[in-house]
C-alpha cells in the first residue's frame, strides 16, 4: 500500500449516524480541536435517513420528530461547529495503535488518531442467518432494505406481503406498505411475544387489522423465479413446527424483520474484546473498549430501540475520547458488572466505583410486576420495581457512586415482586 494520504487527528469518529454526530460534537465541546467524522454513505445521518416515521427525540427534545428531522438538528450543529467529515469514505481497518485505513475517491488514507470512537451502527440479520427453508426466489427483502427502497427511492416492492419476524422495522413497514396500497397479509413471529415495541404493535398492526401470528415460523417459501406463497406453522416450546398447523399465504413479497446485529468486523479485526451476547465491544464506564484510546457507542455497541439514548451514550464516548486525546487520566474500571437471572446483558461491563453510573440492560423475556435487584454478589445494593419489562425495551438503572464503591462485582437480576 504505497502512496497513502497520511493525516493525523485528535479524535476520529467511524460512522456518521446519530452516534457518530453526537460523539464528534461532544469531543469538540470537551476540548478536542481536531475531530474528524468518517462516513461510508453519501450523506450523514445513518439509518435515520430512511426512518421517515415519527418517534425520535421524545426524551431529548420533548417532541416526536421524524428520523430526518432529528438527524438534521445534529448535522446543523456539526456544520456550525465546522467539524470536518469525509463522505463516501469507508473505513477498512482500525488497529490497536489507533491507525485507521480509509478508502475514498481520493485514494487510501492512513489516519493516526489520539482517540477513536466506533459508531458503525448495526445491520439486519438476513435469511441465511435464520436458515429459512425453501427455494430462493426474488421478492425476499430485509425490512430495512425495503424501507430504503420505498422511503428513499420511491420503488414499489410488492402487492401482497407477508412479514417474518416482528421487529420494529417490520412493524413500521407493515403500516407503510398498507398506506402505499399493498396488502400485508400476516406477521409471523417465532417467539410467544413480539420483539417490537407495544406502541408499534398498536399503531402499525392493530390500527390496520393486520394479523399477528405469535409462536409461528416459516416452513416453506414457494415460487421459482419470484415468491408465490409462503407457508407458516405454529411451533412448540422447542421452536419445532407442529404438523397440521400450517397456513399458506399467497404473496409476492416477503419481508424479514428478524433482528439487528451490531456491525463489528472492524472491532474484531482490531483485536478488541467482544461481548457475544450484545455483539458489541466490552466497555468500561467511559465506554472505552479493551484497547486503550478506542471507544464504542450507539448501535455498534448494543442495539438501541430509542435514538435519544444513542445520542446520550455517544456524548459520553465523545467526552472520554477528548479527555484521552488530551492525555488526561481516566478512571479505570475494576468492578465487573454482570447479568444475573432473567437479565440478558448489562452495560458497561466494568465500572470504577468513583463516579455515578447508569447501567443499560435488557431482560430475557417479558414479565409483569418484577423487581430488578442490584447486588454486589452477596448484599443487595438497590432494588427497582417495574410493573412491566419487555426484551424490546432497553432499561436504564442509575446508581450513585456511594452505592457501588467498594463492591467487588455488580450483578443485576430479575425477581418476581411477590
Amino acid at each position: 500500500m504505497s502512496e497513502m494520504i497520511v493525516k493525523s487527528v485528535d479524535v476520529a469518529v467511524v460512522g456518521g449516524g446519530p452516534a457518530g454526530l453526537s460523539a464528534a460534537l461532544s469531543a469538540k465541546k470537551n476540548g478536542a480541536k481536531n475531530v474528524l467524522i468518517i462516513e461510508r454513505g453519501e450523506s450523514l445521518g445513518g439509518i435515520l435517513n430512511q426512518c421517515i416515521h415519527e418517534g425520535f427525540g421524545i426524551d431529548s427534545f420533548g417532541e416526536a420528530l421524524t428520523g430526518p428531522e432529528y438527524m438534521q438538528r445534529f448535522i446543523d450543529q456539526v456544520e456550525s461547529e465546522r467539524i470536518p467529515y469525509m463522505r463516501n469514505s469507508m473505513v477498512l481497518r482500525v488497529s490497536k495503535d489507533r491507525k485507521i485505513i480509509v478508502s475514498s475517491k481520493e485514494g487510501l488514507y492512513e489516519i493516526t488518531a489520539g482517540s477513536i470512537v466506533l459508531c458503525m451502527g448495526c445491520r439486519e440479520r438476513t435469511r441465511g442467518q435464520i436458515c429459512t427453508p425453501g427455494t430462493r426466489p426474488a421478492g425476499v427483502y430485509t425490512a430495512g432494505a425495503a424501507q430504503n427502497y420505498i422511503n428513499l427511492r420511491g420503488y414499489r416492492i410488492g402487492e401482497r406481503v407477508v412479514i417474518l419476524g416482528s421487529g420494529d422495522i417490520g412493524l413500521i413497514m407493515a403500516r407503510r406498505l398498507t398506506l402505499e396500497g399493498a396488502k400485508v397479509l400476516a406477521v409471523a413471529e417465532i417467539m410467544p411475544y413480539s420483539s417490537g415495541l407495544p406502541r408499534n404493535m398498536a399503531q402499525c398492526l392493530y390500527d390496520y387489522e393486520i394479523p399477528l401470528f405469535l409462536s409461528h415460523t416459516v416452513v416453506e417459501i414457494h415460487g421459482k423465479k419470484r415468491v408465490e406463497a409462503v407457508t407458516i406453522a405454529q411451533v412448540d416450546e422447542r421452536f419445532k413446527p407442529l404438523k397440521g398447523t400450517e397456513k399458506k399465504f399467497e404473496c409476492d413479497t416477503i419481508l424479514l424483520s428478524v433482528g439487528l446485529i451490531p456491525e463489528n468486523e472492524l472491532t474484531r479485526d482490531a483485536g478488541i474484546m467482544i461481548d457475544e451476547t450484545t455483539g458489541g465491544a466490552v466497555v468500561d464506564e467511559s465506554l472505552q473498549t479493551s484497547v486503550a484510546g478506542i471507544y464504542a457507542c450507539g448501535n455498534a455497541l448494543h442495539v438501541h430501540d430509542v435514538v435519544d439514548y444513542v445520542s446520550l451514550e455517544a456524548e459520553k464516548a465523545g467526552k472520554s475520547a477528548a479527555k484521552n486525546a488530551a492525555g488526561r487520566q481516566q478512571e479505570k474500571g475494576t468492578i465487573k458488572a454482570k447479568p444475573g437471572e432473567g437479565v440478558r446483558y448489562v452495560l458497561p461491563h466494568k465500572v470504577s466505583g468513583h463516579a455515578d453510573v447508569k447501567f443499560s440492560l435488557r431482560v430475557s423475556s417479558p414479565e409483569r410486576n418484577v423487581k430488578l435487584i442490584v447486588t454486589d454478589g452477596e448484599r443487595v445494593i438497590k432494588t427497582f420495581m417495574k410493573t412491566r419489562v419487555n426484551p424490546a425495551e432497553m432499561i436504564q438503572l442509575p446508581l450513585k457512586k456511594s452505592e457501588i464503591s467498594g463492591s467487588r462485582e455488580i450483578i443485576i437480576k430479575l425477581q418476581n415482586a411477590k
Binding site: 453519501e42 450523506s43 435517513n49 421517515i52 418517534g55 438534521q72 422511503n151 427511492r153 402505499e180 390500527d207
Partner: protein
C-alpha cells in the same frame, strides 16, 4: 364495570392503560405513567387521531423524494385518504424542513410539511446509495 384496554402510542414506554366506563361515561383511567397517556385515551375514546408521514417526489432535487408529515395529528379515519392526496403532490427543490407541501389537506386545517432538506441537483448526480 365495563372497561377497555389501550396501549399508549405517545412514547416508547407504551403504557397499558385501562378505561373503566359507567354507561357511556368514562369513570376512571388507570395505568398511564403521565398526563399525556390520559389525554391520549380520552381522545381515543371519542375521536382517535394519528400522525401521518410519507414521501413526495421532488423535481430537480439531489434526492428523488422528500419525506413529509402532517403538521398536526389527523382524524384516524382520514389517514388513508390523506395519504392518497399527498401521493399526487410534487415538490420542487430546494426544499427545507418545515416547507409547506400541501396547505390545509382535505380541508382539515392541517398542513403537509417537509421533514428533510433537499438541495437542487448540482452537475453531478448524488442519489442516495
Amino acid at each position: 364495570m365495563p372497561s377497555k384496554n389501550y396501549v399508549c402510542i405517545i412514547c416508547p414506554n407504551s403504557c397499558e392503560i385501562v378505561a373503566d366506563f359507567s354507561g357511556k361515561e368514562v369513570a376512571k383511567i388507570i395505568g398511564q405513567s403521565c398526563r399525556k397517556g390520559e389525554e391520549y385515551v380520552r381522545k381515543e375514546i371519542v375521536a382517535p387521531e394519528r400522525g401521518l408521514t410519507t414521501t413526495v417526489p421532488v423535481k430537480n432535487g439531489d434526492a428523488a423524494l422528500v419525506s413529509v408529515k402532517a403538521s398536526k395529528t389527523l382524524p384516524k379515519e382520514l389517514i388513508p385518504k390523506a395519504v392518497s392526496a399527498v401521493a399526487k403532490a410534487r415538490a420542487e427543490a430546494p426544499v427545507k424542513i418545515g416547507d409547506v407541501i400541501i396547505k390545509n389537506v382535505l380541508g382539515t386545517g392541517v398542513d403537509i410539511v417537509a421533514t428533510k432538506n433537499v438541495s437542487r441537483k448540482a452537475g453531478i448526480n448524488t442519489g442516495q446509495d
